[in-house]
């Protein structure tokens, strides 16, 4: 039994409500010195809310937080930082226009002072990078850094303030398998130096690899707490989901004719995001093509080209065997391309529009929904009702504003909108990001069904597990270059990870 002084962090019966939703329901948690506790739960289980309360972004409705035996005032990130809590957010909190050093020093000096000790603080950052294996150039502009480097800056921010407790929110979601290993190395060094870690994740194998203890959340409640050495992945999965959810399985299929082709396509760089470099890609009927890679390596450029938002700077795209003269979102839709965008809140839907309006957002100009410029709202509402029924969209009705829907239901409406016209080609960009397991299974089963009906599916995901379990062929994209096609099951995650990190491309181009 650990002594009371070994407990560095204690959350006591934290409850947080958002309107009618109880995001955290009497959650208690203790973290001991030198321990890694994994906070496990699927999307929407309340992990991030809990950590935002701990860090002072939110104020809990009930319950209290104690760090090193001292109560932490609610709603005060500064107090959390001063108590030695450092948080690495899932979405990086960095100012792109500032240097690494400036991001790290921000808020560490009294605001109303002249600057001093620049070189001393730089030396400290360099020492920390060395000790923890966090290579990053202190004078680089953050806007020019890769995703992995940005995460290192986030960790350095916490270490620079002498954090004793590190909270990492889904830190591996954006990393290659090798980068994940390096991160775990850093975390082990931190533990050896006496830090304690809360590791938030929904990836079981990572939790098993790094954590001493697991606390499982479901629907805002703690549903289980186990030592990792006394459990296994299956047990954790069952606890997390509350039973078993059958994930749809896709058997390998051979390719039909190519429906969408990239021929030596190049695009210009966009800020820090690299453009495509002579990419050749075939999307074939009856296949799911998985595009793996660390985000920001050219996925957006490929998605924009297929979606009609961009045209190649050089090279060509061939749609259903034809060159397309005026490529635009509307011609893409007209060519039978179903587009599931990466961000369903900002790109896929209009929050204050009704379900009906969102259902016809792409098709409103077609016969049936409008005639000579006049909308036929009755027909539009009929379409929305159809989708609601066929795709099991849980909502108050077609005239409700879509902002009231959960992410899963929003995604189902988008699925209905794009799949109902029986598309030949589907681009699904991060289609299950942020969804719970039930919704994930639903989206995947719809994609598989569309493939089985002959559609060519392009699946873009940061989640290598998702890519490997669904794709018939896999390409890896890195620095705007595309790897050769790997048939399902022909490469391990580690091998794909090497490609994601940029290895193998030069050899491949020599061989070609």
């Amino acid at each position: 039994m650990a002594g009371a002084q070994d407990i560095v962090l204690r959350l006591d019966r934290i409850t947080k409500r958002f309107g009618p939703l109880v995001a955290n329901n009497e959650i208690s948690l203790e973290l001991k010195r030198g321990e890694v506790v994994a906070l496990l739960g699927e999307n929407g289980a309340g992990k991030t809310t809990l950590m935002n309360i701990l860090f002072g972004h939110y104020v809990a409705d009930e319950g209290s937080v104690e760090a090193f035996g001292q109560p932490l005032p609610p709603g005060n990130p500064r107090a959390a930082l001063e108590a030695g809590i450092g948080m690495v957010h899932q979405h990086f909190t960095l100012a792109d226009n500032l240097s690494v050093m400036d991001n790290i020093r921000l808020g560490t000096e009294p605001l109303f002072s002249h600057r001093s000790g620049r070189s001393a603080s730089k030396a400290k950052v360099e020492a920390l990078s060395r000790d923890f294996g966090l290579a990053v150039s202190p004078d680089a502009r953050v806007g020019s850094l890769s995703v992995g480097e940005r995460q290192r800056v986030e960790i350095l921010k916490a270490l620079y303030r002498d954090a004793k407790i590190l909270i990492l929110d889904e830190p591996t979601a954006v990393l290659t398998p090798q980068e994940t290993d390096a991160l775990f190395e850093t975390l082990r060094k931190a533990i050896a130096l006496g830090l304690s870690i809360v590791f938030i994740s929904h990836k079981l194998h990572e939790v098993m690899a790094i954590a001493d203890r697991c606390i499982v959340l479901r629907h805002g409640k703690v549903v289980g707490e186990v030592d990792t050495k006394n459990t296994d992945r299956a047990a954790l999965a069952a606890m997390m989901v509350g039973g078993t959810v059958a994930m749809p399985k896709a058997e390998y299929r051979d390719a039909g004719p190519a429906l969408f082709q990239f021929m030596n396509v190049s695009t210009p760089d966009k800020g820090a995001a690299p453009g495509l470099k002579s990419v050749n890609l075939d999307l074939s009927s009856g296949q799911i093509l998985g595009l793996a890679g660390v985000s920001g390596n050219g996925q957006a450029a490929i998605a924009d080209l297929v979606s009609g938002l961009a045209v190649p700077a050089s090279g060509e795209i061939i749609v259903l065997g034809n060159k397309v003269p005026h490529w635009s979102p509307r011609t893409a839709i007209g060519s039978g391309i179903a587009r599931i965008p990466e961000d369903r809140h900002k790109t896929g839907t209009i929050a204050d529009f009704s379900l009906t309006e969102n259902a016809v957002l792409e098709g409103y100009f077609r016969d049936g929904f409008s005639k000579r410029g006049w909308m036929d709202w009755k027909a539009a509402e009929g379409f929305a009702k159809d989708i609601i029924a066929k795709y099991d969209v849980r909502c108050p009705g077609p005239s409700a504003r879509i902002r009231l829907l959960s992410g899963g239901n929003m995604q189902k409406l988008i699925l209905g909108r794009v799949l109902e016209p029986k598309p030949a080609i589907i681009i699904a960009n991060q289609p299950v990001r942020g969804l719970d397991v039930g919704a994930i299974a639903y989206v995947h089963s719809r994609l598989i069904a569309a493939r089985d009906a002959g559609a060519a599916v392009l699946l873009i995901s940061e989640d290598l597990d998702e890519i490997q379990s669904l794709s018939d062929v896999i390409h890896v994209v890195s620095e705007g270059r595309l790897s050769p096609a790997f048939k399902r099951g022909s490469r391990t995650a580690a091998e794909l990870g090497l490609w994601m990190a940029g290895h193998g491309f030069d050899e491949a181009s020599h061989a070609a």
């Binding site: 979606s307 979102p329 790109t347 896929g348 309006e357 792409e362 410029g373 006049w374």
Partner: protein, 347 residues
């Protein structure tokens, strides 16, 4: 503090906050009256009486509301598409210039009225087209350009009135030659000082409402305004929607100036508009950008102006109280509308 969206605001919330905003505005008005050494109740009473206390007052209010309906619609149409047209004042004068250009004998009846109205809308649209093309082509922010155009346009009018359009019989006063009778808008009822510009404004409001709710263009305008990124992704021609919005908005604002010249004044002078273009922003915002609502808020705003003028003469409170009240009402109302949709929570 933090704002948390209210999922389904109830009726009390939806009406309570705007009502509170109105009450707060009245309180500010009372305070201003007290500062001016007048009795607040008497002052408010005088404003009300001055705005609607007699047939003359009422007609004056309707006349004053006419250009405000047009500029309010112009702003409502543009803001709905998140096109920040702050240049209704310039477009208004563009319409007024056309009314004089074509109404002083260049065209004879019976075509002069429809032709000059159409031409006025066209010129107003073109005046806004410049800043909008700069926005869509080069990414130049339209707020500042449309604002600056207001000043440029006033100088152009000043030049026209001292040069090419100068009334030779004007005795040195900068005003244009008068419109021919055929170019004047007739009165709605003979003998009553209310011209057909008011009728046109009402018709314009209905047309804008139909466009916004029933047509594909209206759907596109609303979508572009709510979320341009999603509209573009969905295949909407965002730039062309913005340009069409600009043409409609500029055209509506131009009608304000055109109807003031053709309906009320009969000539163009530099004091044609006491800021109708800017007041249109208040009219539109108070109406929550709803075209039918614009008619009512324009009447309200016009009433405040007309009533304050009358009150000022009687009670000695400076007439600028009207501008202060409306600016206050605008700020209170945007806050109130936001509070109907978000609640303030701790942390």
């Amino acid at each position: 503090m933090r704002l948390e969206p209210v999922a389904n605001p109830n009726l009390a919330r939806q009406l309570g906050y705007p009502a509170a905003a109105l009450v707060a505005t009245v309180l500010v008005a009372s305070l201003l009256a007290l500062m001016a050494g007048a009795n607040p109740f008497a002052t408010l009473g005088l404003i009300l009486k001055g705005a609607a206390g007699s047939r003359f007052a009422l007609l004056e209010t309707l006349n004053r509301a006419t250009p405000l309906i047009f500029t309010g619609l112009a702003v409502a149409v543009a803001f709905r598409a998140k096109l920040w047209n702050i240049g209704a004042e310039a477009q208004l004068y563009a319409g007024a210039i056309v009314a004089v250009l074509l109404g002083t004998g260049a065209i004879g009846s019976p075509f002069v009225l429809p032709v000059s109205a159409a031409a006025a809308m066209l010129l107003g649209a073109l005046v806004l087209l410049g800043p909008v093309l700069l926005k869509t082509r080069l990414g130049v922010d339209e707020v500042v350009t449309t604002l600056l155009f207001n000043f440029i346009m006033l100088l152009i009018v000043s030049w026209l009135l001292e040069g090419p359009m100068k009334d030779p019989a004007g005795m040195g006063w900068p005003k244009s030659t008068a419109l021919i009778p055929e170019a004047r808008l007739p009165r709605i009822v003979t003998g009553l000082r209310l011209h057909w510009g008011f009728g046109l404004a009402l018709i314009a409001a209905v047309i804008v409402w139909v466009i916004q709710t029933r047509t594909t263009l209206g759907f596109e305008m609303r979508a572009v305004g709510q979320n341009q990124q999603a509209a573009r992704f969905a295949g909407m021609p965002v730039n062309s929607v913005l340009i069409k919005t600009a043409l409609l908005s500029g055209g509506l604002a131009a009608l304000a100036g055109w109807s003031e010249v053709a309906g009320l004044k009969g000539h163009l002078s530099l004091d044609l508009s006491p800021g109708f273009g800017y007041t249109g922003i208040i009219v539109a915002m108070l109406a929550l950008l709803h075209p039918i609502g614009v008619v009512f808020t324009a009447l309200f705003v016009a009433g405040i102006f007309v009533g304050s003028d009358a009150m000022s003469r009687a009670a000695g409170v400076p007439t600028y109280i009207a501008d202060m009240l409306l600016a206050t009402a605008l700020l209170f109302m945007v806050l109130a509308i936001s509070l109907t949709r978000f609640r303030v929570v701790r942390g």
